[in-house]
Symmetry: C2
Subunit: 344 residues, 2 copies
């Protein structure tokens, strides 16, 4: 383990001078600078970031706490965060809290203790997630996808609008009984998407049926089970709005397993884009979120905060976009869209 002392000794200077050379703080004589740099090179010295962090009370690490690392929505956001953050000289650490409040608390504690510069979090719960350990230490926090009880910067999409558009589209395309499979109760996104669905029903003058509304777990199995339940109803739905990508996959599995024709028997729209939406027959109508852009926006805002910006918290809301494909259009049997020459 070669330390700054070793470098100083080798270069015949003090550690203070080595530090100044390293951080380009203060003026250092040209000759000494060269001696120091050579010593660093020869000894293959690497500064100890733990010690530096202890001394400066700051690191150039930002963390990303997500609730499901197996969900393409989050991994795509990750990419956006990372591209922006690493360009600004920050390393990104991803922590998977897995919708688990306990794990989330542990990660928050750990990151607070590690003195990361900032964190982007997709909270497991709107009410119960506690970011006070971070705020106490002045660590900047940005809420992603979901909001927090305390006002903080946030980046998300207009979930109600997206759900409304999707539901409206199903009704307009010939559906009359639309089911809604949304996520866990705790997540604001799940509740907002349900609200949007209900709003669209109201606008169309359709009486909502509680039997058609399900809270599932945001994963494949949850989507599968919920669909099985609504299919077993005496009066089953002729359309389903599914509130996220993984549940949509599960829902499709269930429909296929039960020999349900899509969209003739049941049409379907899923929230979140699917890489394979165009590969399947019928192709799947989705509500696309601008995931990558959300990631870059989140990183940019967080880094500004770290840079000292202390203006009022901002809430950036992106607009999701309905991508109409074949799974949702009952009336006129659509042809597979032509002319695509590029993979997603």
């Amino acid at each position: 383990m070669v330390t700054m002392r070793d470098v100083a000794k080798a270069a015949g200077v003090s550690t203070a001078t080595v530090s100044r050379v390293l951080n380009k703080s203060g003026e250092v004589d040209q000759t000494l600078t060269e001696r120091v740099l050579r010593a660093i090179q020869e000894l293959n010295y690497r500064p100890n970031l733990v010690a530096r962090g202890l001394r400066t009370q700051a690191t150039s690490v930002v963390a990303l706490i997500i609730s499901d690392i197996e969900n393409p929505f989050f991994t795509s956001v990750c990419r956006g965060v990372e591209d922006t953050a690493s360009r600004a000289g920050f390393a990104v650490m991803v922590c998977n809290a897995d919708e688990d409040l306990g794990k989330e608390r542990d990660y928050i504690a750990m990151l607070a203790a590690q003195r990361v510069a900032g964190i982007i979090i997709s909270p497991a719960s709107a009410e119960l997630t506690d970011i006070s350990p971070l705020q106490e230490r002045g660590i900047k926090v940005l809420a992603l996808d979901r909001q927090l009880p305390i006002p903080t910067d946030s980046v998300r999409v207009d979930n109600r609008s997206g759900a409304r558009t999707a539901t409206h589209h199903l009704l307009a395309s010939g559906a009359r009984r639309v089911a809604c499979i949304t996520g866990t109760h705790g997540a604001t996104t799940a509740r907002e998407r349900l609200t949007g669905y209900l709003e669209a029903l109201a606008v169309a003058g359709v009486e909502p049926d509680p039997a058609l509304q399900h809270f599932a777990d945001f994963k494949e199995q949850g989507g599968y089970d919920a669909v099985v339940k609504v299919l077993e109803l005496a009066d089953p739905p002729d359309a389903i709005f599914v509130a996220n990508n993984r549940m949509t996959t599960g829902a499709l599995h269930a429909l296929v397993d039960h020999g349900v024709a899509i969209p003739e028997d049941v049409s379907i729209v899923g929230f979140d884009e699917l890489p394979w939406a165009d590969v399947v027959t019928p192709s799947i109508t989705t509500v696309r979120q601008p995931t990558y852009e959300m990631g870059t926006a989140a990183a940019r805002m967080l880094i500004e905060r770290i840079g000292g910006d202390d203006s009022a918290p901002r809430d950036v809301v992106f607009e999701p976009e309905l991508n109409v494909r074949s799974s949702s259009v009952k009336s006129r049997p659509e042809r597979k869209p032509l002319g695509r020459k590029k993979a997603k």
Copy 2:
């Protein structure tokens, strides 16, 4: 910022005693212990892990450096690593090197400087990835999915065997000209899967055609472009073996866009399981890797090393499994498999 000193003062003891209580090291009087615990509670004290790490030269963090966070293979492995590691009291940080040697080097440097306890890495390059900064500091390293130049613990699948089985299956199912779309040159997995493909051809007495072999980028676009190239050949293939999940998605896009019938015109087998392999028509034949198990095995081995195990490096090789579905069977038109009652 409340430190150990504050706690000590509040409890009327020394920091040494507080430390002993905290770490359950040494015997501490019952009364004092209680006073300390109460002070900790009242002041809401949180130990500073940076300082502790500086002092003990160790942290209970393991890092995972992966080459593509958008690839479900890696995210599933992550889950395995995390479940095992967090049960053993380790936090897991995921870093996305993105097949980029520069980023990878930066992350290695950073993690070395942070003094993580160990890292699991899927190296960007078999030859150029340099883990010496880690080894110099005694940080345990395990290679995942791909191997390293230096002997280290490793967890991977038998890529040659998987590719051989897939290719053999295509030939046995009626294909006569099989193309192979593999990953980047740098990755051992890409080369091994190509080798397996060639071996299967050799066994079947089929002359390999370089025009049917492509190195792509492990992503959708690469798979798409490669398929377009082989389709434009004067003598196009009647089957394709694709060496990973994302490229398989791209390959399917290309086939669909070009109106190619699967499996009648071209049959296809993809390496890596796809969550939606059963949802599409035809369902997609895949070579499944036991991703989650690989993650748990990797974490277990790494943690044993951290615990002091210094036996010879182990190379754990899992066997991939061919999952025959409809996309690969030309001869007898298969019925959709029945009896599945559970989503993936």
